[in-house]
Each structure stands twice: as C-alpha cells, then as structure tokens.
Symmetry: C2
Subunit: 252 residues, 2 copies
C-alpha cells in the first residue's frame, strides 16, 4: 500500500535488527540466512540532532539504510530560498538509492533522527547476489513513485484547506497504523513537523498553514491538545475535508 505521505512509504528491511526498536520489513526472506548475516555485519547506527542536515543535495551518499527513530525530510531549495519538501521519512522508511552515488535532494532531521545504515557498496553487491532484494526494492520504489504522483495532485490542484486536511489525515493514519479508509472515530497523534515544515511540504506559507489549522480547530474538525499533539474527534470528518474520494480515501 502506497502512502501519499512520502516517497519512502514502504518499509525497508526485515532484518531482525538487534538494537533497533523496530523490525525492518522484508527484503530478505527469512531463509536467506547468509544474506541476513552479511547485512547484520554491515550495519551501523548514527543519530542526528534536530535540524541537522544528514546529506546535502549533490553530495556523495556512502550509505543506504532506514529511519529507526524520528522524522527526516527530503527537500530541494531554489536559489532565492523557495523550498519544497518532496518526501517525509518516518521510522522504518528507506533512505538512499542503490546504484546512485549522489544525493539528489537534501535530507534533514526534522526531529532527532536515528538511522540504521549499511555501506552502499557492499549492499549493492548483496543486491546482485540475492534474488529477493532487487524485486523488493523495485516494488518499494514504485510505491514511492505513486506517492510522489499523489502529492503532485495535492500540490497542483488542492486548496490550502484540503492540503492541510490531507497531510493531517496521512500522518494520523500512519502514526495510528490505520488505513486511510478506516474512518474510525477518535484518533490522537503527534505532529512531528513545525508549521514551517508543513508549509514547505504543502507548497504554502507558514501563515496560511497556521490559519487553516486554526479554522479546522474552530470548526471542531481537529483539537489542538498542544501545538504538536492533535486529536481528531471524528476521523471521517477530517477525510471529508481532503478533497479525495470519500468512499475510498486517496489510495489506489
């Protein structure tokens, strides 16, 4: 299932990653014990503090891996400072591109972020020798592509209100691990982005984001328990504001 949220919607590895608080999703099948061992020996962890740039666009990227903890963003910036986020990386999302030396976009830690990393070179060697990893990566990338294209609809055609509602619905469903169409009643979740980061993602200004949040709050669609903690009394009401097909949600 592809999420509109991020190019990295699909989880990365299913190595039983010792110290990781999460289990990476299946790239290797459980029977690929050699691959598992090799991957296990390659991995290393690194934590980045909030606001820190993990990789600059155009720089070498020596590793691939996945987010263990925290939230990172993928974004690009124009010369005059206009910025557009092109992906949001939540825990278990994949980072990096096999076969690609240079990072095409900035990767920035939106909160404190811990990555589980694998050296790119040996990982790519493994890619050619294991019959399972390649197809899995292709499927992941196709999911990211779908997500990016869903976001193109949001950026090109949705109103500010619809954009905000869409973002909140997606974050809510991902954090709560519910499907977007399961229009359950009350949902409560943490918003891991500043108003400015939301604006960068939605193609808006931070003032417009703030105003729309206030409006949705005034109308009772959302409740701001604190600036970064939101609860949604009735998830169906939020979905109604996204502009997406009501009986289905925005996913294919």
């Amino acid at each position: 299932m592809a999420s509109i949220l991020t190019g990295q919607a699909v989880k990365a590895f299913n190595i039983n990653c010792g110290e990781c608080p999460i289990r990476h999703r299946a790239v290797c099948s459980r029977s690929d014990t050699d691959e598992l061992a090799l991957l296990e020996s390659m991995k290393s962890y690194k934590t980045y503090e909030q606001g820190q740039t993990i990789v600059w666009a155009g720089d070498q990227m020596a590793f691939v891996g996945s987010v263990v903890k925290g939230v990172a963003t993928l974004s690009q910036t124009m010369e005059d400072g206009r910025r557009q986020m092109v992906g949001l990386l939540l825990p278990s999302d994949f980072v990096g591109r096999p076969g690609r030396n240079l990072a095409p976009f900035d990767v920035v830690a939106a909160t404190e972020v811990t990555l589980c990393r694998f050296q790119r070179a040996p990982f790519e060697k493994l890619l050619t020798s294991s019959p399972n990893i390649g197809p899995r990566l292709l499927q992941m990338t196709l999911d990211e592509l779908d997500a990016a294209r869903e976001w193109m609809l949001l950026l090109g055609r949705k109103t500010a209100r619809e954009k905000i509602a869409s973002l909140l619905a997606i974050i809510a469903s991902r954090e709560a691990n519910i499907g977007l169409r399961s229009a359950a009643g009350k949902v409560r979740f943490d918003l891991p982005l500043s108003r400015e980061a939301m604006a960068d993602y939605l193609g808006l200004t931070l003032e417009t984001v703030s105003r729309q949040m206030s409006t949705l709050k005034r109308e009772g669609v959302i409740v701001l328990e604190s600036k970064r903690v939101i609860s949604v009394p009735n998830f169906a009401n939020l979905l109604n504001e996204t502009g997406d097909d009501t009986d289905g949600g925005m996913l294919t």
Copy 2:
C-alpha cells in the same frame, strides 16, 4: 539522466524492434539472445487515436511496453473534475508497472499514439529469469521518481511564468535531443500538447497558460510559428525564465 518532464524519462527496451521506428533502450544486454527472442515473440503493436483513453485509473493493465509514436499522458482526476497530469510519455518512454495489476492513473493519448506492448505475465517471468532486466527497471523507476520530485518543486513553488518556461525548455531539449544545460542558440520544436493539457500538467488554468505564452512571445523569448510549433531564438533566455539554477539547469 532524469528528466523533469516525465516519470518515464528513461527509455525502455533495447530490442531491435523490427517494425518500430525507434530502437528500445537497453534492458537486455545484447548477449541475452534467449531473452531477446522471447521478448520479440511476445510483442504486439497497437495504435490509439488522439484523445482516446488507453487505460483508466483502477483498471486492469495486462501489458507493459513503450511508446513508439505520439505522446501520451498520465493523469488523475478529482471527483469535481480538477485534473493533474503526473507524467508525460514521449516516444521510447516506458508504460506500465511490472508486478502491478491495476493502473493507478489514467493513460490518455494526447496525439495519435502507437504502443509496442508485451503481455505483463510473461514479461514478469522473464524479469525473474534474466539478471539484467530487473536492475535496469529499478534504475528507470528511480529516474521517474527524481523527475516526479523535480515536478513537485515546480508545482509547489514556481510562478506561472516559470512553469511555462520550464515546460517549454524541457520539451525543447527532449525533442531536439540536447541537454538542458547546453544553452545553444536557436531551437525549434513541436509542442505536442493543447493549452489545456499544458495547464493540467502545470497546475494552472488554460487561460493563464495562454496569457503567459503570449507574454513570452511579446517579449521575444519564444516565437509561435504556429500554435503548436515554437521556436526559441536564444535558448539561454528561455532557461533564464525557468527559475532554475542558471549555471546548470534543473537536473542533478
């Protein structure tokens, strides 16, 4: 090289495709004679007339293949009719998604389009047996992803004028087979899209597209030889209007 133009920037197959006016790009290496023969036996051609929908979003898609002639678009539509194009398929671009049964977006013939098609099922079997096709498809998909993300910047942050200039620059460079940074002098090319299709791609209305075209024409940046044939007296001037880094173009 990824193009901002389309998710399908990278060419598809390098089969010496008998009747095809183009040569499909390398998926199989030349030595994979068995695979080549198999692919050759699977292929079939189909022509769609202008305006015809090749596949509807949500429908089964029994084939993969590539565009031989003409221009097709990938797009999605909201219930109320708002439409956003998410990819533009030019000759030699790949169509369809291995491993995916359902089409996520509408595929429409913008001009008369001829596809060279392969049944999806046998193609996927080939995918597992050949060591070359998989990695090639992964690289293609990564290029499409880069292109989609470049387009997100355009949709979210560029002005109408910059959007038009970007689109023209990309089509010009693709049709003329020149790099975006080769700021050569005069370029002349065919515009295979209606004003409405351009608007759908750029997240604008057709009136705004028309107005910006007129403005660029009035200022001498472009010359409208006919409504669908454009010449650019000085390509560098057009690039200057795209909002992208002047000494490099919009590609990584």
